[in-house]
Point group: C2
Chain length 233, copies 2
């Protein structure tokens, strides 16, 4: 049975890394002492070692060990026997390129579908969707495909942002961008505001956190969904 936590962000405003979700992570990873961390999204160009240290410090607060996937000689083998995986945020194009380059996408998908626990934030959340095409990131590298894990039957837009009132900027709002996505793509999109996450138990997907999510379905007006509700997309 699939077990995932798909979180909009690692960090909410004026809080420390993972603080808002640590007690839920403690329950989620109840029987897992060691988590493999995928650092490949490299936010701000941070090294894999330095990024892994941040994840280690975060999870140390709930007594979990974290090992960087880049430290294994054979990352595919490491994932084959992993008990739990956490993928951090950064640049989604870079993350997806690296996952394909190291042949990680298929084994990660296989393990998630057979019940290995998976936690992802931001880019690491985005890749649980059908495709990475509702990322907010810059295309800094050309990935071999936009197809991602498909652990949920829709796309994720992390860091979902409401239009800024009184803005004089003429660039598209997030909602307009997702509307453009739906001009040529059919899958629903879940806009996860910072501090929100999806809890996946098999085919049941529940919204958690303090804020509602914004749901986009092709040909419908976007609508809000409150925390605690089950998604039926």
């Amino acid at each position: 049975m699939k077990k995932l936590i798909i979180a909009s962000t690692s960090t909410v405003h004026e809080s420390s890394y993972l603080a808002y979700i640590l007690s839920d992570l403690n329950k989620f990873f109840d029987n897992e002492d060691e988590i493999i961390f995928i650092p490949f999204a490299s936010p701000g160009g941070i090294s894999h070692d330095d990024y892994t240290k941040i994840a280690q410090n975060g999870f140390a607060q709930i007594g979990k060990k974290v090992a960087g996937l880049h430290t294994y000689q054979d990352p595919v083998e490491a994932l084959r026997s992993a008990k739990a995986v956490f993928t951090g945020g950064g640049n989604t194009f870079l993350l997806v390129s690296q996952l394909y380059k190291h042949s990680i996408m298929p084994i990660l998908r296989e393990r998630i579908f057979s019940g290995m626990k998976y936690f992802g934030t931001s880019a690491g959340a985005n890749i649980t969707g059908l495709t990475m095409q509702t990322t907010n990131d810059m295309p800094i590298i050309y990935p071999p495909s936009f197809k991602t894990l498909g652990a949920v039957p829709f796309n994720i837009n992390p860091h979902y942002l409401d239009p800024v009132e009184g803005s004089k900027h003429m660039g598209e709002t997030r909602q307009t961008r997702i509307k453009e996505f739906h001009e040529i793509n059919t899958q629903p999109v879940v806009g996860l505001r910072e501090g929100s996450w999806l809890e996946v138990n098999g085919e049941q997907i529940v919204l958690r956190g303090n804020l509602p999510a914004r749901i986009f379905e092709q040909g419908k007006e976007p609508y809000e969904m409150n925390s605690g509700n089950t998604l039926t997309l």
Copy 2:
């Protein structure tokens, strides 16, 4: 000799379509009565016909005729004999996909390099750079390549946006995104604020409009460049 106007946006806040730049366009297209419009970026999913009408109404104010490239049976032939081209904004991934699909990229590049006048806004400005990789748009479609026209020896970031003071959003600022681009790419990036444009005459490139541009070079601190100055990237 290359002749281009590379503009951040078609429309500035509280102004009508192209209004801020019409008198400059009138001088730029002094001897050209007819302009071919490339509507393929389809902002908000607008039809090619409807988008072309907007461009026609804009240019009618300075007595220029506009014909949509999509109305020609053979768009490559149409570009071969075009006197001037305008590419409008929308989604850059869609625009670049369409330009490759219809084999337009090579002929457009050839004609620009042999002196055909080119005006581009937003996505239409982005594609004059070396690659489309500093677009702000969502990857709603997978293009065959990120390589673009290379009419200027750098990349363009249209709608350049300064960090929003007091924002509680944890998503990356534009500057952070471009810094991530430079972790794995070497070409400079010109951040064009709305209302700014580059005037290209052969190898001379001058910044125009009311605002400074923000210049990003790999391994350097970003810096501001005032309007009226010549770029030496």
